[in-house]
């Protein structure tokens, strides 16, 4: 018994040493806030067409801190995030390099990338208002500001305000109206809530289906994921019970957030990392973002997929996306104050 134990321990120790030699030179190492299941199909495409292998480390928190601690020794080449606020933090901490790439500049509109070309948005998601088909008449809600109207008292469901999607929505309202009016809006919204904020966006659609509330905040791709959910077919019913409202179509447009990425300043393999980033903005891959995950492409040459088109073409808030990140801390403070 003791002998086997020693052999096991020895082999594990070898594992520990050997694993680090696996980061070979040509491969691209990615720190990703996005789940592997959502990006692996893109990476497989890339590896198939270029022969370059990709290694992924996924975590939802702390990757920036790890990168900072690793400093010049970091094995990371590319960073992918799901929220603009994270993305700009990387730039602010000066761990991303400025990329001079005509491909990226042509494929991504100016308001969706950094002034100094350190980060680039790769897909867009719209945060919309979902309303009950039966209980909320069409046209009753037009602007996001309407959600603070006392008319909807006890009718609204949302996930907690401190979630990045809500924080970023509130940041967009701060950008449009200033802190004071944004806080009044948040107060009004909280006064209208049907229940304590809980669950994710899908859970809100479900609450509408169940009659707990009539109105909810939601990212559009959840609608697609529910509508075509073959594994949990009850989610199709949830999607059936709601209509999507793109807000503020007569003024600034509907709030959007992005997923994006940038190349690490201390990357040992910048060439391939940039190639991967460029690859992710190409029409063929951009189409995958829509078909697989119901996200909106950033590449302006793309037209919407038939499914996305059926939800309605909409005007988006073209606020330079990094403004959102700027107002995020203020948004969190408002959320704390109003108890969203």
């Amino acid at each position: 018994m003791r002998k086997y134990l020693l052999i096991l321990l020895a082999s594990l120790s070898i594992d520990i040493i050997v694993i680090n030699l696996a980061y070979a030179n040509e491969e691209v190492n990615v720190y990703s806030y996005r789940q592997p299941i959502l990006i692996n199909p893109f990476f497989e495409e890339f590896t198939n067409s270029t022969g370059i292998k990709i290694n992924v480390l996924h975590a939802k928190k702390g990757l920036l801190e790890r990168l900072l601690a690793e400093g010049a020794d970091t094995p990371a080449d590319l960073v992918l995030t799901v929220d603009i606020s994270r993305l700009t933090q990387f730039a602010k901490e000066d761990v991303l390099m400025s990329i001079n790439s005509s491909v990226l500049i042509n494929n991504i509109p100016f308001y969706l990338r950094d002034n100094n070309n350190r980060w680039f948005a790769l897909s867009k998601r719209a945060r919309i208002v979902a309303i009950s088909k039966d209980r909320v008449p069409d046209g009753a809600i037009i602007n996001i500001e309407d959600l603070a109207n006392p008319r909807w008292k006890g009718k609204i469901c949302t996930r907690p305000g401190s979630h990045e999607y809500n924080r970023s929505l509130l940041a967009s309202i701060i950008a449009a109206h200033g802190e004071k009016i944004a806080e009044d809006w948040a107060k009004g919204l909280v006064a209208n809530l049907a229940r304590k904020p809980e669950g994710n966006d899908r859970a809100q659609a479900k609450a509408i289906y169940e009659g707990v509330c009539d109105i909810a905040l939601m990212n559009t791709y959840y609608f697609g994921k529910m509508k075509f959910n073959e594994k949990n077919t009850e989610q199709k019913d949830w999607a059936q019970s709601i209509n999507l409202v793109f807000t503020n179509q007569n003024d600034r447009g509907n709030h959007i957030n992005v997923t994006g990425g940038g190349v690490v300043k201390y990357s040992k393999n910048k060439k391939n990392a940039i190639a991967l980033l460029e690859f992710l903005t190409k029409p063929k891959v951009q189409e995958l973002y829509s078909s697989m995950n119901y996200e909106y492409p950033v590449n302006p040459t793309m037209s919407l997929s038939a499914e996305l088109k059926s939800w309605g073409e909409f005007k988006e808030d073209k606020l330079p996306i990094e403004k959102l990140a700027e107002f995020t801390p203020t948004a969190q403070k408002i959320i704390d104050r109003v108890g969203w």
């Binding site: 520990i16 299941i37 996924h58 702390g62 704390d336």
Partner: protein
């Protein structure tokens, strides 16, 4: 004898290395500006603290009820099913709190089977027709967390009951006192308190459940400040409040033990006789033991199995098999490391240290109370700082397994220390003195006297650590190498996207992987008891 000796010096150095990442968190807390505090104080902090305290009180009480009552019943009474329940009661420890939160929500929510059945049965049409408690609430969190945390108390309390000398019970019988209240409970206090301390620290540091149930605790606040206000230093400052609560807890634990040391000079009469009871009492015993087992194990496992069957086609069994192997070897290796360090620390603190060294060693347990992600960040910050000092090419370590092991040690040392300390404290100091007087070296005394006496405690601690690491999520997520998945990270990446079918099988494996060691532990405890019994006759 100087207290700075060949034993205490290395142990203090190890302890300091383990405290360093916690200090790194403090450092970043003080480094940052405190401008956020007025805002936090006037808005969320009172709520966070209150919720945290309520959660601790709730989970602590319910876990105590579950853990102590079952430990006593199993030790003392004979009833049908006891042989199975004896180890089955430990199984909930292998169910990660975040999984039980997912499964319970699914089970108890409007569309779930419970409410569905009730609607069919009573003819209700929608949620307006009846009232049903919301599982996503403080009460739900208390129930869910207690169901999987009580085994810490059960195990440690039972280990104490088992090693309580029969003569005490005979004495209480002679005087007509209640054996449980006057003998068993006071004597098992170190074990009970050690278990309770672990439960409370686990409660404080939990993120998965409180996030899923939207309970605004300090830990949730840490993340709101860190990610919402881009202020790691603000987050560290809130973590320091957590730390204070834990220091208070640990101090209380220490004081509770100091006034009452329990020593036994022999281990010869350790078998408490089982009491024969009426049929009615047997049924009560069975039910009392079945409740926590059902809540913490049976229900979540049945729900998971249901997912496995309905999602059979989408489960990638090969991938999960590889992941299982990786996960088990990692946890096994790390558990041995943690327990070795724990044993060394506890015996050195007990026999070879001055009070200063004792405090350092004591502080090394504090990592258990930090939210895993914050601890992981503290670890990389510390290792990064070391790398700046003496350049050792950090990327060979962070993202290899070494830093991961290091972080596991920081996090779970408290579990090992708690288990071993409650054993060592029961050993009469005379035993060590006698051994040394006979000219036996300290090392040999440890090997021949102390180690055999705390063997059960080491096993108990080792298994808790193994299972803890098996289900550990945030540290593994951040510090693992590229392309490396453990069962927990595998479950997480699907479950966080609500793909419960894909994640269910891996989740089930985490639970099942805990079965083996638990059964092994249970049979070992029994064998030891038997051996002692036969030695006596």
């Amino acid at each position: 004898m100087s207290t700075w000796n060949i034993w205490s010096v290395p142990v203090v150095i190890i302890a300091l290395a383990i405290i360093a990442p916690v200090l790194a968190i403090f450092y970043s807390a003080f480094l940052g500006d405190t401008a956020l505090w007025p805002h936090l104080f006037s808005t969320v902090l009172p709520r966070y603290i209150l919720n945290t305290l309520i959660l601790m009180l709730g989970v602590g009480s319910l876990s105590l009820i579950f853990g102590v009552s079952t430990a006593w019943i199993i030790t003392r009474y004979n009833f049908p099913g006891k042989i199975i329940l004896e180890w089955a009661l430990v199984l909930p420890a292998a169910v990660p709190a975040y999984i039980i939160a997912y499964t319970y929500t699914d089970f108890f929510e409007y569309a779930g089977p419970v409410q569905g059945f009730m609607r069919d049965f009573f003819g209700w049409n929608n949620s307006q027709d009846y009232w049903f408690p919301n599982i996503r609430s403080m009460g739900g969190a208390v129930l869910v967390m207690s169901s999987v945390l009580y085994p810490y108390i059960y195990l440690m309390t039972r280990a104490s009951f088992l090693s309580t000398s029969t003569s005490f019970f005979q004495t209480s019988a002679i005087y007509g006192r209640n054996t449980f209240l006057y003998v068993a409970l006071p004597l098992a206090r170190p074990g009970i308190i050690a278990g309770l301390a672990l439960v409370l620290m686990e409660t404080i540091s939990d993120f998965g459940t409180v996030d899923y149930f939207a309970i605004e605790t300090l830990t949730l606040g840490v993340f709101n400040v860190w990610l919402g206000m881009n202020s790691l230093s603000g987050a560290s400052q809130i973590s320091s409040v957590l730390f204070l609560i834990v220091v208070v807890l640990l101090t209380l634990e220490y004081l509770a033990r100091r006034n009452q040391r329990f020593h036994e000079k022999s281990s010869g009469q350790n078998i408490m006789p089982e009491q024969e009871i009426s049929v009615f009492a047997k049924v009560i015993c069975l039910i009392l033991c079945l409740i926590p087992f059902t809540l913490g194990f049976l229900i979540p496992v049945i729900i998971l199995l249901n997912f496995v069957f309905s999602g059979f086609a989408v489960i990638n069994f090969n991938e999960i098999l590889d992941t299982t192997f990786a996960s088990i070897s990692l946890s096994f290796f790390a558990a041995i490391l943690v327990m070795s360090i724990s044993f060394l620390m506890v015996v050195v603190a007990n026999y070879k240290s001055n009070s200063f060294q004792k405090i350092i060693i004591f502080l090394a347990s504090c990592g258990y109370a930090f939210p895993g992600t914050i601890l992981a960040v503290g670890t990389v910050v510390f290792v990064g700082w070391l790398n700046e000092l003496i350049h050792f090419h950090i990327s060979y370590f962070v993202g290899g397994f070494m830093v991961l092991m290091f972080a596991y040690t920081i996090r779970f040392l408290a579990v090992g220390n708690g288990a071993i300390r409650s054993g060592v404290m029961r050993i009469h100091p005379n035993l060590m003195d006698a051994s040394r007087t006979m000219g036996v070296s300290f090392f040999q005394s440890l090997r021949r006297v102390i180690f055999p006496l705390v063997y059960t405690n080491i096993l108990v601690g080792g298994i808790l650590v193994f299972v803890d690491i098996l289900k550990e999520l945030p540290i593994t997520l951040l510090l693992r190498p590229f392309n490396f998945e453990t069962l927990a990270t595998y479950v997480y990446q699907y479950a966080s996207d609500e793909m419960l079918e894909e994640s269910s099988f891996a989740a089930l494996i985490i639970v099942i992987a805990g079965l083996g060691p638990v059964i092994f532990l249970s049979s070992t405890i029994k064998n030891i008891s038997k051996k002692k019994q036969s030695n006596k006759t």
